[in-house]
């Protein structure tokens, strides 16, 4: 849940009262957005996402009720708690606002400003507590049915050292998923995917993808096909056929590790190019594949790349959260910069431990923009 500075949108055509309220809320640590009309408020809402809206009822042009109706019709604004500020104490009007328009409360305009601020502050605390409780309940439910989109521990693969780091966005389980699928005594399939979207909605679909990938692996193995490109192709076909996954897309990096030969086979679906660290030369390079996102087109083709590692060479596959960051409220995405930043850590002994420390320090709740996941494969 987003903590930090509380944001409120104030809407009132009385500029004096608007300024007074904004000052009072800012004094209490809020960021206050001011709009002198409902029309102006709608424009502001295209760019800003307040946690609560306090709006006058009687305004020239679009009145408070019409404004509220407009917000209810919009998927991105309908759930923002809404409070009417009005001189009206007509019971019928109040009931219409509370029942039909799902306003959280009415506050009389005659209420002292400090009391209005205190009321809104309490209301927002209650909303935040309710959100935290819902999150806790969902977490408990997920734990109770033992569903995990990220494994609890790393697998043991002869001749390789596998490790990973994962940090969900704002503490919510999200769209990133990791799996290590053991195939007989010779192969392990290393899986990193990212269902597009964030938080619970994306998290919910990770299990469909994980199941389909596991099924595709078993299906391919049973017919003697140890090819990650074929596994991707089969997974994509099923995903595209599944009506429950219409409009759900996922990236996927899939590496088949062969313990016997020491070779890796890599195939990707709309994933970021993986990174290959040549230990002897201390050089980090990207390896690209051509596969499209899973769920895009059932006819999509995938290709596999064979990778041979020398001792201490390393492969890194990662989700897009690692190349995104937030600074001064602005988001940026830069693959090259991420590559540049982690390269020096890889040159050290225990390089991935240093990378994990670096990432833990870099991706805080304030700077993280999405789920972050990275898997490291080192040849011993």
């Amino acid at each position: 849940m987003a903590e930090g500075k509380k944001k409120i949108l104030l809407v009132d055509d009385n500029l004096f009262l608007l300024g007074l309220l904004a000052k009072a809320f800012e004094h209490e640590g809020f960021t206050a957005f001011e709009a002198a009309s409902a029309e102006h408020a709608l424009l502001l809402l295209e760019k800003e996402r307040p946690e609560i809206i306090l709006s006058d009822y009687e305004m020239p042009g679009m009145d408070g009720f019409a404004f509220r109706k407009h917000l209810l019709g919009n998927a991105t604004t309908k759930n923002i708690p809404f409070v009417f500020l009005t001189a009206h104490n007509n019971t019928e009007l109040v009931m219409e606002g509370l029942d039909e328009l799902m306003a959280v409360d009415f506050i009389d305009k005659g209420t002292p400003v400090q009391v209005i601020v205190a009321k809104i502050d309490n209301l927002l605390s209650t909303v935040r507590e309710k959100q935290a409780l819902s999150l806790l309940e969902l977490r408990k439910a997920a734990e109770a049915i033992n569903v995990k989109s990220v494994p609890a521990k790393t697998p043991t693969i002869n001749g390789f050292e596998i490790d990973f780091w994962h940090k969900p966005y704002q503490g919510y389980p999200g769209g990133d998923f990791i799996d290590f699928i053991r195939i007989g005594t010779r192969y392990t399939c290393v899986v990193l995917g990212d269902v597009m979207g964030k938080k619970w909605t994306a998290w919910f679909f990770t299990f469909s993808f994980l199941s389909y990938i596991r099924a595709a692996v078993r299906f391919c193995v049973s017919s003697g096909e140890y090819d990650p490109a074929v596994i991707l192709q089969k997974t994509n076909q099923v995903v595209c056929e599944d009506e429950a996954l219409v409009d759900v897309l996922s990236s996927l990096s899939l590496i088949l590790v062969d313990e016997q030969t020491g070779h890796l086979a890599y195939a990707g679906a709309g994933d970021l190019p993986l990174l290959y660290f040549n230990s002897a030369e201390g050089v980090l390079t990207s390896i690209k594949t051509s596969g499209l996102l899973l769920g895009l087109f059932s006819s999509a083709k995938y290709d596999a790349t064979s990778i041979t590692l020398q001792k201490n060479d390393q492969i890194l596959i990662f989700s897009d959260g690692l190349i995104e960051s937030v600074a001064a409220d602005r988001h940026t995405s830069n693959y090259g910069l991420f590559k540049e930043n982690i390269c020096p850590f890889l040159r050290h002994k225990n390089g991935f431990a240093a990378v994990k420390d670096h990432l833990s320090q870099t991706f805080t709740d304030a700077t993280q923009a999405d789920d972050c996941s990275i898997i490291s494969i080192i040849k011993k």
């Binding site: 760019k47 998927a75 769209g175 990212d194 597009m196 979207g197 895009l296 995104e324 999405d370």
Partner: protein, 110 residues
């Protein structure tokens, strides 16, 4: 409204009015795009001149819109993209499914 629409010849140019295209506006964007497609617009050019950042949720909404458009025989073009955004689209191969042009006037075959 996230999109500001105007006709340029027989192309409908939809300018994205937000700077950060992310989870908070992805659903609204998808709704507006589906509306434009359902109204029978066959050539929609999305203008990204104001957009400085796209997250995966918004990208998902763009791709869903494209799939919907293709199902209706319509085309979606992307124009005026910032370098960072083009780089991201190329990295994850989404540039292979969208028709990307520098400016709307460069669109050919529409």
């Amino acid at each position: 409204m996230i999109l500001e629409n105007k006709k340029v010849g027989h192309i409908l140019e939809a300018t994205i009015l937000i700077t950060e295209a992310n989870l908070t506006n992805a659903e609204q964007f998808k709704q507006e795009m589906f509306d434009l497609i359902n109204k029978g617009n066959q050539h929609i050019s999305l203008n990204f001149v104001r957009v400085t950042y796209i997250d995966s949720s918004f990208l998902g909404a763009m791709v869903s819109s494209l799939k919907h458009a293709l199902g209706k025989g319509a085309e979606i073009y992307l124009t005026d993209l910032k370098k960072d955004i083009i780089d991201l689209l190329r990295l994850i191969r989404v540039d292979k499914v969208f028709k990307i042009y520098e400016r709307i006037n460069d669109i050919t075959g529409a």
